[in-house]
Symmetry: C2
Subunit: 338 residues, 2 copies
C-alpha cells in the first residue's frame, strides 16, 4: 500500500501554503485565489494524485456530507428506485458538495433500527431519511431528530410529526375499490401487507371505506405477509376459495403479493381476470411483463423521492427551515387483470 499524499506535502512541493491549496480546491472559496495559481494548484494536485481526506474535512467542518438512508428491504424494487432517485438528486450539483448516502437495511427487525441509527449518528451523518419506520421506532427517531434532521419517506408514523414525503396510500386503496365497484364486483377481498407499516394500514383503510360507502361486501380476510410472495399468496388464495360468498376481485397490497396469488391460481388451473380479478400496488417492472399484465397502482416514486431530497437539503442548510410535508397522489393503471 502506498502512503497517501496529504495537503502539507503537496503544499511543500508546490511552494505554497496549505491554506491556499484548500481554497483553490474548494468550490466556494476558490475565487479568493489568483486564477493563475488556482489553475496551477488544481493541475498539480490532479497530477500528483492528491485526494483530500474527507474524514478530516468532516471533523473540521462539523459536516460529513453524508446522509443515512434506512430501508426495510433492499430486495424491494420500489425502495431501490427511491434510493436511486434520491441519490441522483443529492449527487453533485454545481457549486455544492455531493452527499454520500449510507444505506442500511432493517428487514423490519425490532432492534435493527436502533443499532443502525446509532451507527449513522456516530458517523455524523448530516441527516437521516427513513423509509422503514414502524410505530415502534418513534422514540428512536425522535431522539435522533434532536441531533440531525430526520425525514420520513414512503412510510409514515401515526402521531409523530416528522418532515415527510409520502404517497397517499389511502387514496390508492380507494381507487382500487372504486374500480372494482365500476366493474360491477359485489364481493371483494384484500391481501394485506404486514400491518406494522402504516403504508399497508392506509391502503386497507382507503379500500374498506369505499367498499362500505358503495355497499360492496368486503370479506374480512387478513393476510399478513412478511416479505413472502408465493407463500402468502397461496395461503390467501386458499382462504378466498373457501369463503362464502366467494370474492370475485382481490386487491393485493403490492405486486409481489399479487404475483403469489397469480401463481397459486395457475397451480389450480384458475385464470384471471375471468375467475378472479386482481389488482396490485407499485407498478413493478414485473407487473408489465406478465402474460396477462397486472392492473396496479402506480407509485409516485419520482415525486416522493425528489421532495424527500429537497427536505433533506433544506433542513441541512437550515435546521429551522419551515418544511412542508407532502402527500403525493398515486394513479391506478388498469391492465388486463381486472
Amino acid at each position: 500500500m502506498m502512503a497517501r499524499l496529504n495537503m502539507r506535502e503537496l503544499a511543500l512541493k508546490l511552494g505554497v501554503d496549505r491554506a491556499t491549496i484548500s481554497r483553490a480546491l474548494s468550490s466556494d472559496k476558490a475565487h479568493l485565489v489568483a486564477p493563475a495559481t488556482r489553475e496551477r494548484i488544481r493541475q498539480e494536485a490532479f497530477a500528483a494524485g492528491y485526494r483530500p481526506d474527507l474524514t478530516a474535512a468532516a471533523l473540521r467542518r462539523g459536516r460529513s456530507n453524508t446522509i443515512g438512508i434506512l430501508v426495510s428491504d433492499l430486495g424491494n424494487e420500489t425502495f431501490i428506485e427511491v434510493i436511486r432517485t434520491i441519490f441522483r438528486y443529492l449527487d453533485k450539483r454545481p457549486g455544492e458538495a455531493s452527499l454520500t448516502p449510507l444505506i442500511a437495511e432493517t428487514l423490519d427487525q425490532p432492534d435493527a433500527t436502533r443499532r443502525l441509527i446509532d451507527t449513522f449518528l456516530s458517523r455524523r451523518v448530516d441527516a437521516i431519511i427513513s423509509l422503514a419506520s414502524t410505530e415502534a421506532d418513534t422514540p428512536i427517531l425522535q431522539q435522533a431528530a434532536r441531533e440531525v434532521p430526520v425525514v420520513l419517506a414512503i412510510r409514515s408514523i401515526a402521531g409523530a410529526v416528522f418532515p415527510s414525503s409520502l404517497c397517499d396510500d389511502r387514496a390508492g386503496g380507494a381507487m382500487v375499490a372504486t374500480h372494482f365497484a365500476e366493474r360491477g364486483h359485489k364481493v371483494v377481498c384484500q391481501v394485506q401487507g404486514p400491518p406494522l407499516s402504516a403504508t399497508f394500514k392506509n391502503r386497507a383503510l382507503g379500500f374498506s371505506e369505499v367498499c362500505a360507502a358503495r355497499s360492496i361486501v368486503e370479506m374480512p380476510q387478513r393476510i399478513f405477509a412478511e416479505n413472502a410472495t408465493s407463500a402468502a399468496g397461496k395461503r390467501a388464495l386458499d382462504a378466498m376459495l373457501g369463503m362464502s360468498p366467494r370474492p370475485t376481485a382481490v386487491f393485493a397490497h403490492n405486486d409481489a403479493l399479487a404475483l403469489g396469488v397469480i401463481e397459486a391460481m395457475r397451480h389450480r388451473g384458475l385464470r384471471y381476470p375471468e375467475d378472479l380479478a386482481i389488482v396490485g400496488f407499485n407498478n413493478t417492472h414485473l407487473s408489465r411483463v406478465l402474460a396477462v399484465p397486472l392492473s396496479t397502482v402506480d407509485y409516485p416514486v419520482e415525486d416522493v423521492s425528489r421532495h424527500a431530497g429537497e427536505l433533506v437539503r433544506n433542513l441541512i442548510d437550515n435546521p429551522s427551515y419551515r418544511f412542508e410535508s407532502r402527500l403525493f397522489v398515486p394513479s391506478l393503471i388498469v391492465r388486463a387483470s381486472s
Copy 2:
C-alpha cells in the same frame, strides 16, 4: 438541533481523563481499565447519550472502518443477496469493530466507476469490493489498489490479478450444455448477457465448449441485453423462431432473461419445455415461483460472499497477507422447464 456531548465534556463530568473513557468504551483496550470504573463510565456514557465521533476516530486511527462496495445494479437480486451476506459477515463480531459498507451503483456506465472509487478513496474506506468490474475499469482499480486492498467478487477481470471470490461461470455454462445433451437436444442456443462482463463471457464459453465436444449444434445467436428482461427476451425468441434448424433448448444467462423469453412464449401461445426447453442462471426467487418452475444454475452466493468478506478482513489487517483467490462451483437445479 441539540449540541452533542463530546468526550472532553463527558470526562469533565465523570472526573476522569478522556483517555480512560476512550479505553473503557473500546473493545480492545477495555481490559486496561479497572472493572469498576469501566462499568461506571459505560453506564454514564450511555445515560448521557454520549456517542463517539467516528469521523474523529477515523482521522486519528488512520482507519475509517468502512468499506466501499461497488455494484452494477441494485435491482439485481443476486447482488443484493451478496451485499447482505457480506454485510452480515463484516458486521460486529465479538472484539472487533464492525465495518460500515458504503454502497454505490455504477449501472455499467463508463465514468461511474472512476467517480465512485474516487469518492470511496476520499472517504478513506479501508477496502473496496467491486462486484461491477468491466475490463475498462482495470486501470482505475489498479490505481485504487495502490492505496487500499481491492477485492473482486462475482465479476472477474481477465489479465489482472486482484484477490477475488468468484463463481465458476464456465463450469455453470458447461453444466447446462451437458444437461441439454443428456436430454437428447441436438440444436441449442444461448441468450447472452452483455459481454463487457466476464461473467457472461465465461458462461457462454463453458456452454459452447461442451456443445462442441458433444457435437450439439449451437446456433450462433448473440443477444446483448442491458438490464432488460422482456425486451431482450422477446427479441431473442423472435430470432430463435426464425432459425433453421430451430433450437429445441435455450440457455439464458440469467433468470431475468429467461423470464423475458418465457413471457414472449406465452404471448405466442408456446409452452415450455414442450416447445422449447429453457434453463436460467442464479436461482432467483422468481424461478421457484413460476407456474412451470425454471431450471436454473444455483449461484453460490453464500460461499462467494463469505470469502470476499474474509479477503477484505485479512487484507485490511495485513496488507501483505498471502491471499488466495477462489472459484466456487455452482450447481444445476433441474426443474420442470427443461
